[in-house]
């Protein structure tokens, strides 16, 4: 049977569609270019002896570096806890109808966002140049704790104060944005049920605001992880970068040690990415089906498969 006979047989009916997928020659060319560039970068990085990869390998798991990694993690976690708690408090204060409360929150945020973190860190570390003794107690009344400022605030605490109080100011704005994103109807409905302001905040507004608060908070945490390296200037907190600088200032191998430091920061940041993904998914429940995509699907691309349902 020839083609012409076939078409005669089917006379009156439209031809079968010969579907050919749209060709994307541009994509192939672009992919090729990207692969070639990537390969040449990798090759030059691996083969360039000036990177001193053997030195990098030698110091990557050096006990001093590992100690630095631990201190960096401690600084990041503790500073973020201080920052987040302070941020929530300041945001609630900022939205208070009492002008004195909201005004003082504004003043705090203005001060801590308006001066460089590095300068704040130096101030906290050298605080005893301003206040040699610190007394804690009832203002204008008796005090219970008197201490030398340097004993009360060792280097590590100075760093926590510097990072935590600064972070509080930024977190306050993030939390405030989250609270404002929750519709006023929610508050009104809660009020009509007779709930008080704090109960509304805690039970109604904050849980819903979390969805908006989480992504920028993840961003802040990643930022904090690297900002903690500023403790270099106070010379008494042995974080990752400071430990590395101790080694390279004696051995004159600055570049390989800085590579070691970068590898560790990248690894820690990657862990934070995973954490952020799971927290985001939890607080995004019931808001969008886009949120219900597994980690695997996100990495490999979902390719139009039906949304994967899981127990998240």
């Amino acid at each position: 049977m020839s083609t012409s006979e076939l078409s005669e047989q089917r006379a009156g009916r439209p031809d079968e569609i010969e579907a050919v997928p749209v060709r994307h020659p541009g994509r192939w060319i672009a992919s090729f270019v990207v692969v070639v560039i990537a390969a040449s970068i990798v090759r030059s990085v691996i083969t360039n002896p000036r990177f001193q990869w053997h030195t990098v390998g030698h110091y990557l798991f050096d006990p001093r570096i590992l100690h630095g990694v631990r201190i960096t993690i401690e600084l990041t976690v503790l500073s973020m806890i201080i920052g987040i708690l302070l941020g929530v408090l300041l945001a609630v204060m900022r939205l208070s109808p009492n002008p004195l409360i909201s005004g003082s929150s504004w003043l705090y945020i203005w001060f801590f966002r308006g001066t460089p973190l590095l300068v704040q860190l130096l101030f906290w570390n050298f605080i005893s140049a301003l206040f040699p003794r610190i007394d804690l107690g009832i203002p204008f009344g008796p005090s219970f704790i008197h201490a030398n400022a340097n004993t009360l605030i060792p280097g590590f605490v100075a760093a926590l104060l510097g990072f935590g109080l600064n972070e509080g100011a930024y977190m306050a704005e993030i939390v405030r944005a989250g609270m404002l994103s929750v519709g006023e109807g929610q508050t009104e409905a809660a009020q009509s049920l007779g709930m008080g302001r704090l109960a509304i905040m805690r039970l109604i507004v904050l849980p819903q605001a979390m969805r908006v608060i989480i992504p920028p908070t993840g961003n802040e945490t990643i930022s904090m992880l690297k900002n903690t390296s500023l403790v270099l200037v106070i010379a008494s907190v042995f974080d990752l970068l400071f430990e590395a600088s101790q080694i390279y200032s004696a051995q004159f191998n600055e570049i390989p040690l800085l590579i070691v430091v970068s590898i560790w920061y990248l690894a820690l940041t990657s862990v934070l990415y995973v954490g952020q993904y799971f927290i985001e998914r939890r607080y995004g429940r019931g808001f969008s089906r886009q949120q219900r995509v597994t980690m695997r699907a996100r990495w490999l691309g979902s390719r139009g498969n039906p949304p994967v349902t899981d127990t998240g």
């Binding site: 130096l122 050298f126 605080i127 005893s128 140049a129 008494s236 600088s245 101790q246 200032s249 004159f252």
Partner: protein
């Protein structure tokens, strides 16, 4: 002289300008001045080159020389065997190390052996940092409390640590220690004796061919009196060395 430098015509000199009177920032806020800067200017002139003195953190100068960023490091470098593995030195002065403390309520020590259990502020990458760390190990080996060493990026940080009481002692080369005490308006005083005299060297990249011409220039400045005049101008003439001591890589430890 290396041909590349001759065609470039400018000697790039790095100094950590927090170490008066050897190198510090002039009142204009950015020019590096001091004994090392003046000496390098005279050396460059003798070599027929222009000069650019740049400020750098002390511990970044030797890596900067190794990577070709600077031609000379003129920053009160003590010529040590450890550093000679990475750079070449032209010795040009001698200086010891001194301790200083707060004038009122400071910590009294007489030698480095008394450092056990104390907190000392140093500049990162200096021989003082290395010496304090070594002493800390000796203290521990002898069953005494260790030395807490606070290494700052520059000498200003170390001095601030002393002012604020973070550290009990400052530890620096004798000329800057003496100068800082003098300029501190009675806040600091020297304690103990200056010790561990060692040669200062001008650092150049290893095998760069720069050491010999710089050595010749230093000797020429000694002959025509400029060397003595510059040292006297900055009050460090006590560290002057005879021509026979102007060695290349003359580290004693």
């Amino acid at each position: 002289m290396p041909a590349a430098l001759k065609s470039k015509g400018t000697l790039t000199v790095a100094a950590d300008a927090s170490y008066a009177p050897n190198e510090f920032i002039a009142s204009d806020g950015h020019t590096v001045i001091g004994m090392d800067a003046d000496l390098m200017k005279a050396i460059a002139t003798a070599m027929g080159l222009k000069i650019k003195v740049v400020n750098a953190t002390f511990d970044s100068i030797i890596p900067g020389l190794a990577s070709g960023k600077y031609d000379v490091g003129a920053s009160s470098f003590t010529d040590t065997k450890e550093r000679e593995k990475t750079v070449d030195f032209v010795d040009y002065l001698t200086a010891g190390e001194s301790f200083y403390t707060k004038a009122s309520g400071g910590t009294e020590i007489s030698t480095i052996a008394d450092l056990c259990g104390h907190t000392v502020a140093v500049e990162r990458g200096t021989t003082e940092q290395a010496d304090a760390n070594t002493q800390s190990k000796k203290c521990k080996a002898a069953g005494k409390p260790a030395v807490t060493v606070l290494p700052f990026a520059d000498q200003n940080g170390a001095n601030l640590a002393l002012v604020s009481g973070r550290a009990q002692l400052g530890f620096a080369d004798s000329p800057p220690a003496e100068y800082q005490v003098k300029k501190s308006n009675g806040q600091f005083k020297l304690v103990g004796q200056s010790y561990a005299s060692a040669p200062y060297g001008l650092a150049v990249p290893k095998n760069s061919g720069l050491a010999k011409p710089i050595q010749a220039a230093v000797l020429a400045l000694m002959k025509d009196g400029q060397y003595k005049a510059i040292l006297t101008h900055w009050g460090v003439q006590a560290g002057a060395i005879p021509a026979s001591q102007v060695k290349i890589n003359g580290a004693i430890s």
